[in-house]
Subunit: 396 residues, 2 copies
């Protein structure tokens, strides 16, 4: 990187030739100071040389964490999971019915919803099956944990609407129903509905995206994604859960003792190293290990990083602001002196909960079918060549 | 909004017919529960019915604040201001030279910059001429103050690079030079460079947009936008400001006493009501007055709203998190009982500075040519018909 006096005499324009020139050139390079640039535009576009994409696998597409920085996920890269595709809904015909154990059943249009006092909150949303199909050594961060994304969500508090319709004293649950072809339904406890649940119509400053529930969805901060029913059309208030297909045939976790856990809504603390990871290759020297951590329990208190397969751990630096139930960036400087190394991260949340190992999780859940709410510590193997690959625990 | 028992018997699917049906229908409505939706995709798109756009005026395009929610501005709606168009820069050939009063002049490639420890910060960026061409009653919030936007910026601290090159003890200023056809240059005090200045390569989680300086720009939190030189190619360290064309012919404010103010970098506290505003029309009843406030001095401490032309003021609710040098949302419930009303907002920042009236600003600056750093209290007139229009002070 050091330049000589001769380089300097050539001036700044000359300095650019010091860059990599071995790259295949598909066209004649242009000095950008000599040509007028592109005009202003009504809507910006990404640079053609910087276009991250979601990884599409059937009815899932995942956020490419390896390509991202900061805590906000660009809306068009927010992960997708839908049960019957993305419906097309005319906002002028959208309505939300709230009925059941209420004094005044009501139907709200989208503009009705927008007339109520609004709030904005920066929160992650995570699919409960965010460790579903981990593949071999060529697993990227997006493939490993790409079903979590963070947005600034804007909407009306569900509590505000429930006050409007007059929830009856004995009501303890509600049913949320989507208007997609799956007509997805989930039961939600009244306590959550009255606490921090939103009917969200905004995402990252503008209308929610179609695949995120346009024009409006339920949003339950910190809870498994499928319960935040998208394209929400109906809420039925009741005094018991509804035991829908989605909460009996799936979204239930078998345990090692033969029982199963239902209504396990909260997503537990997890962390993910996004760099270095497959397919990076390192050179010996200082490496900034970077990643994200999140928990449905509130704020991340601490993230610890190990560069020796879990033998010792060091506290990573957390990026401010550390927001409740939002991705939190961590960074840790590491001097890689060569030789094989296993790098791992573990999150500790404000309740004191520590992200477990896979062995600890499987001991509780039983071998085999654990798909949902799997938040094990994960690691990357830095090979002696500098090549980084994924390897599932045990790493030894 | 109230529904009858008969409506309920028709069920939720029936409920949607209660919505507006007077709208011209360009095609047969489809029941979204009866057709499979669109598949997952590598990159999401906005709903065709929700596509806000920047307002383009020559070499400026402004953020449509009237269409936005929350504090993060979508990257493709961040305001633009460039002096010679948006250059196309090959990131593989990008370089940043740092020279002058330094011990070790160096050239950094983009990947060099990304190897240094990184930080992310949520900050606004505002053009110093953000009240340039206010028009008549049909002025929208975007036209009135659309040259401010908020992003999460990621990059390396300039202090880190300056440590690398070894700034000499007598150095007090630096020159930042862009690689667009304007070769824009600005002088920046060393104190700011060593404090919170970034060389930013990330915006809202991914690569910075071309019109924001891709692949890398200077970013000076809280300071007038033009000093945060885009497409940054050169930094020259010196012991005096460089007195460039951009800081002598413009970006200088004449004062009433015949003197002029140079190097007035910091953007002062300002607020903007984004709803209601032109072209909204109100019906009597409760209205949530919403808007944004920001200051280059740090955090917004308070926003006050008046609904009677400044006779009385009430504290608005601030949306958490209130971040330093970032747009802060405020909200205030107002019962509009009919009749003409002038609604206004004023920001107070953490230093105690109070956003001034236009009369106070003009008294200091002198009549006529004040273009830069104009942050007057602005207001909207709600006419007796409910129509909302812009009117410049005085409103009486």
């Amino acid at each position: 990187m050091k330049v000589t006096r001769r380089d300097l005499l050539a001036g700044a324009a000359g300095a650019v030739v010091l860059g990599k020139t071995t790259r295949a050139q598909t066209r004649t390079p242009v000095d950008p100071t000599k040509v007028r640039g592109a005009p202003t535009s009504a809507m910006g576009q990404r640079a053609p040389t910087a276009t991250p994409q979601r990884l599409v696998r059937g009815n899932i597409s995942s956020t490419p964490h390896q390509d991202l920085m900061g805590i906000i996920t660009p809306s068009d890269l927010h992960f997708e999971r839908h049960h019957a595709g993305v419906p097309e809904i005319d906002p002028a015909n959208y309505s939300l019915l709230i009925h059941g154990m209420v004094d005044r059943p009501m139907v709200f249009s989208l503009s009705d919803l927008k007339r109520f006092p609004s709030v904005s909150r920066i929160h992650f949303l995570e699919c409960s099956g965010n460790l579903g199909r981990v593949a071999g050594p060529e697993t990227t961060p997006g493939l490993l944990a790409g079903l979590t994304s963070t947005s600034e969500w804007t909407g009306v508090k569900l509590a505000t609407l429930l006050k409007e319709v007059g929830v009856q004293p004995k009501a303890t649950w509600l049913l949320a129903e989507g208007s997609d072809a799956a007509v997805l339904t989930r039961s939600v406890p009244m306590a959550k509905a009255l606490d921090d649940a939103l009917i969200a119509y905004g995402q990252n400053g503008e209308a929610i995206r179609p695949e995120q529930g346009y024009p409006a969805r339920l949003f339950l901060p910190g809870w498994e994604g499928n319960a935040s029913v998208k394209w929400l059309r109906r809420i039925e208030v009741s005094d018991a859960p509804f035991m829908t297909r989605e909460e009996t045939s799936k979204y239930t976790e078998p345990f090692a003792n033969g029982t199963a856990r239902m209504f396990s809504f909260q997503m537990d603390a997890r962390s993910l190293i996004t760099y270095p990871a497959f397919p990076n290759t390192l050179a010996p020297g200082w490496v900034e290990i970077k990643g994200i951590a999140w928990t449905g329990a509130g704020k991340i208190r601490r993230v610890e990083v190990s560069t020796n397969g879990g033998a010792t751990w060091a506290a990573a630096e957390l990026q401010e602001p550390v927001l409740s139930m939002a991705h939190t960036r961590f960074r840790h400087l590491w001097n890689w002196t060569g030789g094989e190394a296993v790098i791992m991260s573990r999150a500790v949340d404000e309740t004191g909960y520590v992200q477990p190992t896979r062995a600890e999780l499987l001991k509780l859940r039983g071998p085999g079918t654990a798909i949902y709410h799997m938040n094990p510590i994960t690691g990357w193997v830095v090979q002696a060549t500098g090549k980084v690959i994924y390897k599932q625990e045990p790493w030894g």
